[in-house]
């Protein structure tokens, strides 16, 4: 976690004043391997990680979108969400046609609907969420 946060901080520290939306997509995509490493660390099954990456890739979604999806899952797990529904839910949303930010927001909404991360910004395991902290 510390490593991921350190990388996110370094990326966030980049001189964004010079950076347009196009470059932000590259910077977000650069986070994908580190985010996936973090997802594995917090307990997402290897098979689910590979399955989701393959599903996103095979549908032509950019690495930036994959980074958003994985980040949402990490945040949800940090907030106490179960680790066993990642692949199935992402597949369902992809099949429904969701992409990009809408896909990430659907994952967030699904977890919130299960009451993850509440009340008062804390999850079922009592840990504070870090949503919004290092997002690009």
């Amino acid at each position: 976690m510390k490593r991921l946060l350190a990388f996110a901080a370094l990326v966030a520290a980049a001189p964004f004043a010079q950076v347009g939306d196009s470059m932000l997509t590259i910077l977000r995509a650069l986070e994908l391997p580190a985010l996936v490493t973090e997802a594995r660390r917090v307990g997402v099954a290897e098979v689910a990680v590979r399955d989701v990456l393959e599903a996103l890739r095979s549908r032509g979604l950019p690495a930036e979108d994959a980074a958003r999806v994985v980040r949402e899952e990490i945040d949800a797990i940090d907030a106490g969400a179960p680790r066993d529904n990642f692949g199935a839910f992402v597949h369902a949303q992809l099949d429904a046609g969701l992409r990009g930010r809408a896909l990430a927001e659907a994952i967030r909404a699904e977890h919130q609907a299960r009451d993850v991360g509440r009340p008062e910004g804390r999850g079922a395991q009592g840990r504070a969420t870090r949503r919004g902290g290092s997002r690009l």
């Binding site: 490593r3 991921l4 350190a6 990388f7 370094l10 990326v11 980049a14 001189p15 964004f16 010079q18 950076v19 196009s22 470059m23 590259i26 910077l27 995509a29 650069l30 994908l32 391997p33 580190a34 985010l35 996936v36 490493t37 973090e38 594995r40 290897e46 990680v49 590979r50 990456l53 393959e54 890739r57 950019p62 690495a63 930036e64 994959a66």
Partner: protein, 94 residues
């Protein structure tokens, strides 16, 4: 231990592990696979560090590494999909 040394150790271990787990002619192929995997990480890390230093030059940096946007996305997916490669990448860029 320096990041460079850790990466060197990781690369060597990857190549040796791949080579030792097979026999005969497969060993050379396995060693090639390990070296190729490390080259993938090295390329991704080089791109990441360069872009982090100068994000405004992102497209130029990708081009300098012979990458289109699509190829760059593919590189990120390739590294992310392999737990060892993704970990090596995360270590190298932190």
């Amino acid at each position: 231990m320096s990041t460079r040394f850790r990466r060197l150790c990781f690369g060597t271990a990857l190549i040796l592990a791949a080579a030792c787990s097979r026999s005969g002619g497969e060993r050379a192929a396995a060693a090639d696979e390990g070296a190729s995997a490390m080259a993938l990480v090295d390329r991704a890390v080089a791109v990441a560090l360069a872009i982090r230093t100068n994000p405004a030059a992102g497209d130029s940096i990708l081009a300098a590494h012979g990458l289109t946007r699509a190829a760059f996305d593919s590189l990120m997916y390739d590294v992310a999909a392999d737990s060892a490669l993704a970990r090596a990448y995360a270590e190298a860029i932190r």
